[in-house]
Amino acid sequence: MSFELETAISPEKLRRVAIDPVSRVEGHGKVTILLDDDNKVHQVRLHIVEFRGFEKFIQGRPYWEVPVMVQRLCGICPVSHHLAASKALDMMLGVKQLTPTAEKVRRLMHYGQILQSHALHFFHLASPDLLFGFGSDMAQRNIVGVVAAHPEIAKKGVLLRKFGQEVIRMTAGKRVHGTGSVPGGVNKSLAPEERAALLKDIYQMVAWSRDAVGMIRQLFEQNLAEYNAFGRFRSAGMCLVRSDGAMDLYHGGLRARDVEGKTLFDHFDYGRYWDVIAEDVKPWSYMKFPFFKSLGAEDGSYRVGPLTRVTQCDSIPTPLADMERQEFMAYDGGSVTGATLGYHWARMIEMLHAAENIKDLLHDDDIIGHDLIATGERQERGVGVIEAPRGTLIHHYRVDENDLVIRANLIVSTTHNNQAMNTAVREVAKQYLDGVEITEGLLNHIEIAIRAFDPCLSCATHALGQMPLEVAIVGADGTVIDAATRDHRGLTRELS
């Protein structure tokens, strides 16, 4: 099965243009574009060129090491892996309900992560394109350029991120790769002086987050036609929602809707995610391609993350963010809710939601409590799902009677978005690159489409042993003498 512009019919006759590496994203990836002599686009692929293999080397480790180990997947969203693994191991330990202090400290850590990650993405990575223009001078199109031209905006971005990192440091023990969350609970709560230090600044953070929503709204108002059309495509979506349908980024049931907005499943128990999601592999990518089983691999791809969460939830349970959600949904008759660049607007609404949540949690005395760990009846396996900054994150472990992990499966946010990102870059290629002389500024349009998803390519690489592989032996005259292809079904050998 192949999507439009995924595979050219005669690639050997085409000219290849590569964006390598894709910049201002986490991790390493590249985009290849195949063009004919008239610059007509025949093939566009987003490739992930690094490899992790965490699912394999977690095997054989004691389960209690896992929440700390899996953070090494990534330097940007380690807290999300820390918490998803902890949730999976809560289930494995039979803990059905954390203590109030443990749940609230974990939530505080999670909202700190959402705040710092969204601020990093919007101000450091995306704002240069939005403030200076998609094809603007490359020398200016970066965070240092934003600092020089818009110091007040840059300063807010830097301070928002720093505040989020402080929340993480105080709840997890370190700004990066902390240890605060453990199977069954947490190993520390907030000290009263830590709480006071965060309370001093949180109201400013709420105000600045609100300003950021206003800023992206203003950018849409100024460029509505271009932003709405940019890389636009229809997609299904999936996210967690609370039992009443409200947004909950820490816990809930799975909700999925198809491209028409029709509900495919709702409040689905994520402990059996494999009943509704399967993963396809392609020989040209290390990253898996998840799809809804009920729709099949061809029609079942979907997207996750801020745009899906904000548009699929029934409400946001903090007042300012919910007001912004309603305005976003109604703006221009709802047109921006389907725009790829609508991710940025939705992301800033979530940042405001995170700031409001942090404020509320800091006023809750449970966060300085001392009842940290719950216990239960040990199970063989556990599944933990969390809404990470980039989307739904699934951790699944099986643990043997010696407490060693015997199987691990991770489906990270960026993997869910794999097909959606490929579709978005193909749409942009059709819109901007087809039949014209390619320039750096035009190629940046492709990167802007990828950046809208805020992908974390480090996290999204494939599990060892399931990695698809193509090997070709090419003669001195360029002819292929022998080729072998391995996919998840085994080895298929072909002699040309």
Binding site: N142, V144, V147, A148, P151, A154, K155, V158, R175, V176
Partner: protein, 152 residues
């Protein structure tokens, strides 16, 4: 209140001699605790130097950046750094000069006096321990930094 002296070391503790920055900070924190006459000294560490670290410079009287270096003469070298816009912002990690420039752009003023202590490293592979030469250089760097705190 912000400590007037900031020691900021960076590097990846899991990459051989790249651990020199964080290890320096760890040792210097203990050293500063034994020298109350130095006044308040804040020691910070991170994996990389980035834009947000410009804000860590606010309210300081003096700053010492500490990093492992393949180019520095063994065992270490101390030099004053000035704000400068370079190409380091396009990489994962910024130079101290670029961070000072960000400070000047955001704050609209001169950054505090800053020095870079570059400690000679030899091996930076993932999973490696600190090399024997780097261990020796670390001791020399700690002595040089102690002299800097005393004299500057």
């Amino acid at each position: 209140m912000t400590a007037p002296t900031l020691i900021f070391g960076w590097g990846n503790p899991s990459r051989g001699d790249d651990a020199l920055g964080p290890l320096f900070v760890e040792h210097f924190t203990a050293l500063a605790a034994r020298h109350p006459e130095w006044g308040e000294v804040e020691c910070l560490t991170d994996f990389q130097l980035q834009v947000e670290h410009a804000l860590d410079l606010q309210g300081r009287r003096r700053v010492l950046f500490v990093d492992a270096s393949l180019d520095a003469p063994a065992p270490c070298a101390l030099a004053r750094v000035q704000p400068a816009r370079d190409a380091s912002f396009t990489t994962h990690a910024m130079s101290p000069q670029a961070v000072l420039k960000v400070y000047a752009d955001i704050d609209g003023g001169e950054p505090p006096p800053c020095w870079l202590l570059a400690i000679r490293g030899e091996r930076f592979e993932l999973g490696e321990d600190l090399s024997a030469a780097a261990r020796q250089s670390l001791q020399a760097a700690l002595q040089l930094a102690a002299d800097w705190v005393d004299c500057e």
